[in-house]
Every structure is written in C-alpha cells, then in structure tokens.
Symmetry: C2
Subunit: 112 residues, 2 copies
C-alpha cells in the first residue's frame, strides 16, 4: 500500500533526530557494540565480532548503522578499521535524550 510515505516533514527536526538515535540503539547487538566501545575506547571490527554472537558481516552492518546515526566513527588503519564513539555526537545525543526524559510531569495524571 502506501506505507512507504515517509512523512518526514510532518515532524520536527528534533523529533526526527531523537527517533534516529533511538533507532540506532534499538537492537541489543548495537547496544552491546557501543558498550564495548565505551569500555575499550577504541577497537577493531574483529574485536567486536569475537565479542558478539553474530558473524562478521552482520557486525559490519550494525557498525554501519551506528555510524550513519553519528554515534560512532571509523577510521581505516591498514586492513582493519578502528572504531570509536563519536564523542561530540554522543554528548549531543545524550542531551537530546535527557531533555526528553526530564520532562516528566510534576503533577500526577488524573486517569491512569
């Protein structure tokens, strides 16, 4: 049907950005990857592969998505690629998300 109509313009830039970040983190493998990168500071794709229960090509795909969302960076180093958290974007993402979650109402809801 017409499911594919991405009504992108109907949402604010902030909403789209938040959804993009959330989507990047919406798979446990990608959560595991960023946690690993946060712990290790930098590492190669192979290090992640040996850490996760999925094969190399799938890990590479997940890395691509995290990179597309801006959460991580990758630089080629010889035959391998060194990945790390994109600290600048990580911080701005942190703030965007924090701003959303901070808006919890002081007043209790009347119905639920």
């Amino acid at each position: 049907m017409n499911m594919g109509i991405s009504k992108t313009s109907n949402y604010t830039a902030r909403q789209l950005e938040l959804a993009k970040i959330a989507k990047a983190l919406s798979h446990p493998a990608r959560i595991a990857i960023v946690q690993f990168l946060l712990k290790k500071k930098t590492c190669y794709c192979g290090d992640i592969v040996s850490e996760l229960p999925i094969v190399q090509s799938t890990v590479s795909q997940h890395l691509k998505e995290l990179k597309a969302a801006g959460l991580i960076k990758g630089t080629i180093a010889g035959t391998s690629t060194c990945y790390c958290i994109d600290e600048k974007n990580w911080k701005s993402s942190q703030q965007l998300i924090a701003a959303l979650f901070d808006k919890i109402p002081a007043v209790k809801s009347t119905c639920c």
Copy 2:
C-alpha cells in the same frame, strides 16, 4: 533463512531492556506521542490522532507499542481510553539510558 533466530539469551537483561526502550522510541510518531503526553499529562487517543499526520488505526498501533514497552499506560474511560506516561517506568528508563550515555570515556580515542 535463519534470520529469525532471536539470540536473546546472548545479551544481558540490561542490554535487552535498553534496546526495547530505544525501539519504542525509534519512530518520530512515537516520539511525538510521548512528548504530547508529557505536555498534556493525560489525554485520549483522539487528541493524539488530531495532533499527528497519521490515521487513528496507526496511532492506536503506536500507542500499543509504547504501552508494550512500558513507557505509557492506558485506562479505559467510557468509550475512549485515557493515556498517560507510566511515570515509574519512565524514570527507570531514564536512569538506564543515562547510565549508558554517562560512560563516555574521559580519555580521547587514539585512532578516530
């Protein structure tokens, strides 16, 4: 192929929970919905429908997903349903996410 193997057990409960929250927020419509609920405190499905560029059945589906993830609650009130943020789960989600984002390394990465 064998794509559907959900290797759930290979990830920690925390990783799975984080991914679940992120997934619930991975669509701009659902971001818009929670923002609306945060602002309005409580409201009916119809209020959300008239706020968003999508039809009622789709909004209902998004609400179902947010509810399944535990981020919102809904109570039936006559013919309509009153939705609101699940404050308890909202706060615990906030903490889980904050804990992830707080782990930004003090040391700069050497490669990227």
